[in-house]
Symmetry: C2
Subunit: 117 residues, 2 copies
């Protein structure tokens, strides 16, 4: 027997790896990005963010956000808080209503980070 | 008393809302996007995806992925499966090793969806 008969699909004995893996993003950056993506990993939050983004001035009153997503006001407020905490929305109180706006540059920055992974 | 003394920050009685909220993405699209973002909502998965993306040909052997993230092989395999299921990576078996590649266009499509929310 000769080793030339080894099928091409077989891996070399030991390891398949010749070069060390390229670095990718570091642990701290991965954690930062994952936090934002986790906030987006819920359909209701994607809808809420997209509804806010679709408004004139990219800002919406919380009173406009419960009906379109068909959820209770406390649930909507919770989802909005997660988006604020992730840096995707900002919140401002005006009289009895809270207004939510897309954080300037947040979507573009996150999209750019994703596109350059 | 006249109503002209009402502070500007007070909301009008009843509702603050004049226009109905703009639509944003629909429920099905939100679900689809949230599934991808949820897969990315974990630091180890962000690192794994970025390491694969950083390789020549945007492809890496699983044998090259455990050491850089400092996790066990079963844990790495689980995370890679989540990324495959979300459509971000593809998997091919060659001999004893599985190879993972960035799904063509997946990162750009997701980035575009995010940027156009």
């Amino acid at each position: 027997m000769t080793t030339t008969e080894t099928p091409a699909t077989d891996a070399p004995a030991g390891s398949c790896c010749v070069e060390p893996a390229a670095a990718g993003v570091d642990a701290a950056r991965a954690q930062e990005l994952a936090r934002v993506f986790k906030a987006l990993g819920e359909p209701a939050r994607v809808r809420l963010l997209s509804i806010v983004a679709a408004q004139q001035g990219h800002e919406a009153c919380v009173c406009d956000l419960t009906e379109p997503v068909g959820l209770s006001q406390p649930t909507v407020s919770h989802h909005l808080k997660v988006l604020v905490d992730a840096g995707l929305l900002t919140r401002s109180q005006r009289g009895r209503w809270a207004y939510y706006a897309v954080a300037p540059g947040a979507l573009d920055r996150t999209a750019a980070a994703l596109g350059s992974l």
